[in-house]
Symmetry: D3
Subunit: 289 residues, 6 copies
């Protein structure tokens, strides 16, 4: 019986640790960028969506922004075209754009379907809806690569209205320009722009790595908490590089534009959102002002 | 100058005729089922969307429900499958359902894009969003034909919230069953179910015919206004038949379930919505209680 | 049949032209100064009131300000007195003031009666009610001419409350001074002061002329649209003079004090209000900032 | 000093007596029928209006309904006509009606002016405004006597809206029939109908007698408080007769139709309203259920 | 009968004098510091509480702040301790503090009980409740005298909420410091701090003297009304001294911190609150800006 | 690292278990009867109050009802009187009642002080405040035992208002009878009556035992969950007896009068409230309908 008594003390400890966070984040907007491996594996997908549902359940106001890179390539190939990239960005002609929209909307509505299965009302939109994401045509390395856009304005009317009505918005990264032409958008950029425009408490990237590590090859060197100043120093010292570099710059910008904190988590780890938000130590890297 | 003076009198007459209707319908919900040829021709599509935008502009609350039949077949074929129908309903296996969703969502978001181009905030949803359309698996002529559903419940929460926030909802006919599995739905049925659930003032079908004609081959025999009782008598006498028959039954059901009136219009006629709603005589067939 | 088909296109054109104006002016306050011939002829009166009723019907918020000059003279004479004027303003002794009040209130309540007949709830007030119009005793050409007042303050409490409750206020130009003594007020001045105090979108004068004409004798030289700057230039050049001169100065002041636009219309022309407000070209002269 | 000490005790006693009434009647509607001698004498008029202003000041919601009998006769004569009466009701041809309206509206706006002078916002309306008083043509002793109407419906929309916005409505007894033709109404009847429609707490008649006396010739036999049952018994026993008889029937009807109490006061007695409402004993006759 | 007629005139006069005050103070907060002899005599206590109840009845929003000096000494003695004072303030060790709290809360709830007996909903709180009174440890003449605190912050949340919900708060002068340790507070200081924090219209001290007298020994020299400037002059001239001196400084501070007026009344005089507030002359000394 | 990984899984499990309860109970009223040993030991008291603070923190709406038995006896003795009991109820003469009030109010405000120390706004009231607890004089075994009352009505106005304004009410069991005389009340009875009147989701007794055990001497026979029917059967079979018997009847009555569930917990066990409410198994005995 000794053991079970301990367990009850443990449970009480977890609760006493978590309750103040639950309270503090009630009613707060959290934008979750969802992509990469965490979106491919069906089991992980279930866990992620369950976490988002639990966040909503205890009063947070999640917004999901997703990508769809791998699926788009698959369908483009199915239709007999070869995917082309410039500096990691997809060259998007009219046909590719049509396929990209179809695929992103499919992914989008499937995530809605999963949320509904968890008992949470959810609505799948893209940047066309309510003219939410306004873009200008992007130039990559001096090249025009087609229907790829950079966000220059977020109209939060629809998002805010859905949030206020207790829906979880799920956003596909498509936007309109001044001529109401549709464009593909980088999902990380979309998540940042939306978090900033909503004044989100938290912006969270579900990635394929544990977070920011002093030595990227050794995950025991994970840094649980960084100020933007410390993050810039790590960049200067060369500790942060590669694919993490643009993400870190995104994070710092987001915080400077009013987002409370940015979290880089390993989306493959079960219930990473709950552990990051509701425990003292967290599980990935949190970047604060 | 005589002529221009006449024109001013004429303009005043049109306005004096129209203003009471504009007033009477302000704030009222009108569900527009949009499909057929009116959706294929780009010029007509522009006019239809402009009309819906004008209805919104003067205070009505339009909801668009669309189909996508011809495009779905096109894409199914592109992927190397043969479309199969039973009693006019598409046999929908898992692959076909995936394509149907992609195509319907593409059409959906394109209509949203057109509405936005007309300066009207619009949101594209399907029945998954907000768990709006709940279905049971359909049986057609005793046969299971796959992922085809009959609506048994409309949750108006999301639609009403969008309408209240001044958005024009555009709805793709996809629903979820008890297991949160997705199904294709007949667009006419979806329009009826939504109009009934919203207690719409008007339900309008944009079709490829002028309306109900005593002699379907002679469009000068168009009947501008019918009671449900008169409609049933015409059915009994055999004046109404063919593809019009199920439509008429849909109309009568809708009115019995609380819809104010149902309008069958020729979607190919320019500005048919304005002329039907804001002139004394109208332009198609209106069915009232 | 060709002709009727044309007519439908025409009707659609009129509606497409009018609907954006109807929308743009919905909820906006329009002050209509009503006087002159348009008030004497019974047929014209009916048309004017019908127009105001239609404006209200489609969501505008009309306020009528009226005079009563000719009727006052008639009754003063009936009681055996001779009307006397200084610089166009009535010398108003105590007895004349009593008659003026009786006549203005009679005209006032008759307009209310006509509005009610058109199905529009209306309330007849003068500047005493709710202490709406506060005046100081006027001096005309250095002379005291009795109970004639200049407005120095409008308390919009009552007017705003009536407008908010969906009544059409009809205002007789009588005010109170600091001692709560009653005074007669020039109706044009009252209309301007009320339009300014309410921040009206439009102030409209129903007069006995077509509008501002380059050559007042040739109505084909009517100017449909003027900026205040252009109006002042016309005054400087001598194109505007006579009775139009004080009206134009009133208009310019009103616009400078926040009224959206001022319209000078021929009150004798049928439905001049509808044509001026809901057609591109209008029918009289509109003055804008 | 003894005396002044007593006076302070006395003052406290008056306040302790009055405060619960003041509280109990706060927010309650009281309809004051104002007519007869109390309206002719200027000093009395000032006192009455001051009382009504004080009632408003401490939170009651007064509505004044007035007549104008003597003034109408004066003006009819001025215009060279002879007043004619049937059973005490004025035969009202078209010309007389025009004069009656002018005179009633003059009296009406003068009362408004007096209220404003006491610092109370007030609005003068007749039954045309807001279509408040709807009538049918009356028949008196089998005779048609012209534009004399019986109220059959009170639309309280305007009155309630004015009351809610803290204005004191002053009502002239003119109404409209189905054809929107204007009619003269008996002021006592108008006061009753309005009190009933508003569900007034109190209806008060300012008359030329002290109240109901057992012996009408001996004012020491005044009855301060009567139930409707007792009133009917007095009628049966013949104690109440003459001009008091229809008034008593009016009172009883009013109470049966929801008015809290009816008060018959001597309008010539200074501050009769305050003394009746805010002292235990009152000053006239109060009739309760 | 002559006499009773006079009495009615008198009653009307008292009411006409009182009604504007009643109106002017409706909804206004009045803080009543209640202590001294007025709290010991049971008959006087009943009258005071009845007055407060009547103030509430006619719409004022009273707050009672009370002391308990004599009772605390009694109970401290009962428990075998000797009361000790420094400069008029009680030396308060832990045991004394415990007794003081018990006694003050008893007095507090007894006043609540009396209010309830008068039909007024009342709530007894001390400065611990809602963390209303925040204190720092006091130093008196350079000495620490134990648990005696000076208020440095009033959190009006609870008081305002009780007032808004139509309760009469009764406040015992106990507060908490930063460590949430309880302290005794001087009741006059508490009344001032609360009146200032609430922006009270009136702060009233019920004392054992008539008010401020030019010659404190001659109550016919009572000054009914003083400006803060005049009060300071009296202090300078030496007319105000003794126990009145700190009270006067309290009054002046209160007014400078936003309280409308401060009243010093003889709490032993029956209904002093009604007479001070609702008569022109008042009964004690009122200090205004 | 294995171990810490497990711990994170464990934490996630505790959270996933707790979050739905946290959500389900958000905004729900829980009445906590606090007494016995848990109130004497200072360490336990701190834990209990911390738990209540955490319940409030995550959105529940706690109400504390406390007793004070042992302290009252102590103070009665201090003042030289002998406590007397009849059937476990204290014989309460006037002097004892005075002491009881003083002690209960002291305990009451000390609990408020502890809540404030935990950062939770709290208000200490007794049944006098807002006339919350109305009683009739109790008879115990046919004997009058003085100022001991049975609750016959709870006026929830004050409690509800405090709860709505986000305060935690702490209630001392004192009430008033029709004559506004104060009475002592059994704290368990007070907790039941308040929970019923508020329609509480939960009523919780913090006692000195683990809960309901099949064999009261063997705490491993604890029953975690009972229906009222099962509870009655246990009473019939004799498993429940002694001091537990009246408590069980209280519980059953409470549930029949609308309380969602009643919980009997060991108040001495650390964080028993959190563990009972936010874990699947709970820690004491829960009784449901």
């Amino acid at each position: 019986m000794e053991y079970s008594y301990l367990t009850e003390t443990n449970k009480a400890d977890v609760l006493i640790e978590a309750l103040p966070y639950i309270r503090a984040f009630a009613g707060k907007v959290v934008v979750v960028k969802y992509g990469g491996s965490a979106m491919v594996d069906e089991e992980i997908q279930k866990n992620v969506i369950k976490d988002v549902a639990l966040l909503k359940l205890v009063g947070m106001r999640p917004v999901i922004v997703h990508g769809g890179g791998k699926e788009i390539s698959k369908w483009v190939s199915l239709l007999g075209k070869e995917p082309v990239f410039v500096a990691g960005k997809r060259v998007t002609d009219k046909e590719t754009m049509e396929v990209a929209e179809m695929v992103l909307n499919k992914v989008n509505k499937n995530l809605v379907q999963l949320m509904e299965r968890n008992g949470i009302k959810s609505v799948g939109i893209c940047g066309k809806d309510g003219n939410t994401l306004h873009v200008t045509r992007a130039t990559v390395e001096g090249q025009d690569i087609g229907f790829v856009g950079d966000i220059d304005k977020v109209d939060t009317g629809l998002l805010q209205s859905l949030i206020d009505q207790d829906f979880v918005p799920v956003v596909a990264p498509i936007g309109l320009d001044d001529e109401f032409q549709a464009y593909n958008i980088n999902a990380d950029d979309a998540a940042c722009a939306i978090a900033e425009a909503l004044g989100a408490q938290k912006l969270t990237f579900l990635t394929d790595i544990e977070g920011v590590c002093l030595d990227p090859k050794d995950k025991t060197t994970l840094i649980p908490r960084l100020s933007t100043k410390e993050a810039l120093e790590l960049v200067d010292k060369g500790n942060i590089g590669g694919g993490m570099l643009p993400k870190i710059h995104n994070c710092i910008n987001a915080i400077e534009n009013g987002v409370g904190s940015v979290h880089i988590l390993d989306g493959r780890m079960a219930h990473c959102l709950l552990l990051e938000f509701f425990t003292d130590k967290g599980i990935g890297t949190a970047i604060y002002k």
